[in-house]
Amino acid sequence: MKRVAYYKGCSLEGLAVEYDRSTRIVCEAFGIELVEIPDWNCCGSTPAHSYDPLLSAALAGRNLAIAADNGCDMVMTPCPGCLKSLKGAQETCEDPQQRKAFVDLVGKDVDGLKTVSLLQLLYEEVGAEALQKAVQRPLTGHVLIPYYGCLLTRPAQKARFDDPENPISMDRLIEATGATAPDFPYKTECCGATYGVTRNDFVGRLGGRILDMAARLGGEAIVVACPLCQQNLDMRQKQINKYYKSAFNLPVPYISQIIGLALGIDPKVLGLNKLCVSPRVLLEDRTQPDQEAQRVGAAVKPGPNQPGGIAGGESIQPS
């Protein structure tokens, strides 16, 4: 069994509790032992960065140090924001000019650790092929949009995973579950989550664009691997609809929930009931050909004033 230190981050304790739950279950199913970092602290996220980069490095670094103390050489976090901070801590520790200050604050160096996202862990340690073999409940007939968000594979030199402009890891994992993953042009576009509270109109504008494109491609759901993207597109979907004058009704499940579903795990155990937009459409069994005919292109009816709507959005009307 592979032992991986698990840094869940603050979001997964509150608004993204279902991401935590499904991550643990899916990892267990594939024989990955997650060791939650004892007494972990917040990585400081963007606010720490813009205060002083060393603050961010020290806050994130403390968690890495505890992981190393627990005999782990790999740290996984499901949150791309946390991952960025963890990688920043490693970089600071390796920088000869800042190394001393870092070690003084954290108590030790954090050399030799590998930090990965949940998506990278699943893609590289489990792989699409193994997932395909383990599928119990194929999601054949469902159209799921892979949305990576801005930080998961960027900046390329630091993330060192997949492609910064056109990542494909999540596409492959979705396809392994039997579902269809269309080419999504906004895979790595920023959803504006940072400004959920402070500039809600940004969220309406940027989130609206993403939901709109997903609906146009016939997506039934947008699959994400970031708690901030998820909250933004799901919890704030009503706010987005208000701003965008639209009526999107797209569930936004986590990749771990989709994989768990395909593995035949109970949707409630995966926390699918915690999503704000009901993911009921994902539970339909479409593996029988006659049910394929009932397939609904998208759970979306375009609003009367959908900005820039293409020909009234006929292409996304339920068939």
Partner: protein, 205 residues
């Protein structure tokens, strides 16, 4: 907003500023040849006072006050689109990050509400070791005099059992608070010149 007078721009040129930005960010800002890829990639250009290409140019020209007082550096979401597409391999997002840090130190943050949100976020981390989501919002709302921000979300989140009413506190909170104190003490001395944070209505963590 006061626009920069481009005819007399050399008079307000601050060479120290260029050096400080390049040193702190580790990026050679002078390599930028103004192709505009960063601006075209940036989804926030619509909200900026100076598009990111111009921030780069103004930095090359040593326009400290204009750059550090701009709204752009605080509306940047650090999404890395500019960095990914820069043909000169400049980490533009890192430059913007450095400018934010400098603007905090110089107390020229143009977006008060964003600063308040960040301050309260850090205060939560310093106090509990983790962010207390449910507690953060009401404090922010009070301090920015927008008491009903996001209240529409509360009933549904309560129904879903996602709101906690007690903060999760870690055991070694003292260690976290200590990290904050050391950083606060040392963050000006790193520049080589001791500049205490000016006293003003803007609070600190």
């Amino acid at each position: 907003m006061e626009r920069t007078n481009t005819l007399s721009i050399q008079q307000s040129r601050d060479n120290d500023f260029i050096r400080e930005v390049e040193e702190a960010s580790g990026q050679t800002v002078s390599k930028c040849y103004q192709c505009g890829n960063c601006m075209a990639s940036c989804v926030y250009t619509f909200a900026y006072d100076y598009p990111v290409t111009q921030i780069m140019r103004l930095t090359q020209l040593g326009q400290r006050d204009t750059v550090l007082g701009s709204s752009s550096i605080w509306l940047c979401a650090n999404c890395q689109a500019c960095t990914t597409r820069c043909p000169q391999n400049i980490d533009v997002a890192q430059v913007m990050e450095t400018l934010r840090v400098m603007s905090r130190k110089a107390n020229t943050v143009s977006q008060r509400d964003i600063r308040v949100f960040y301050d309260e976020f850090l205060r939560s981390v310093k106090t509990f070791g983790r962010v207390f989501e449910t507690g953060l919002l009401p404090v922010y709302n009070l301090r920015t005099k927008r008491p009903f921000t996001d209240f529409d979300l509360a009933p549904r989140l309560m129904w879903k059992g996602k709101l906690s009413f007690l903060p999760a506190r870690i055991k070694k909170r003292k260690k976290i608070a200590q990290i904050f104190e050391v950083i606060k003490r040392d963050r000006f001395s790193k520049d080589g010149k001791a500049r205490p944070e000016p006293l003003s209505s803007q609070t600190d963590i």
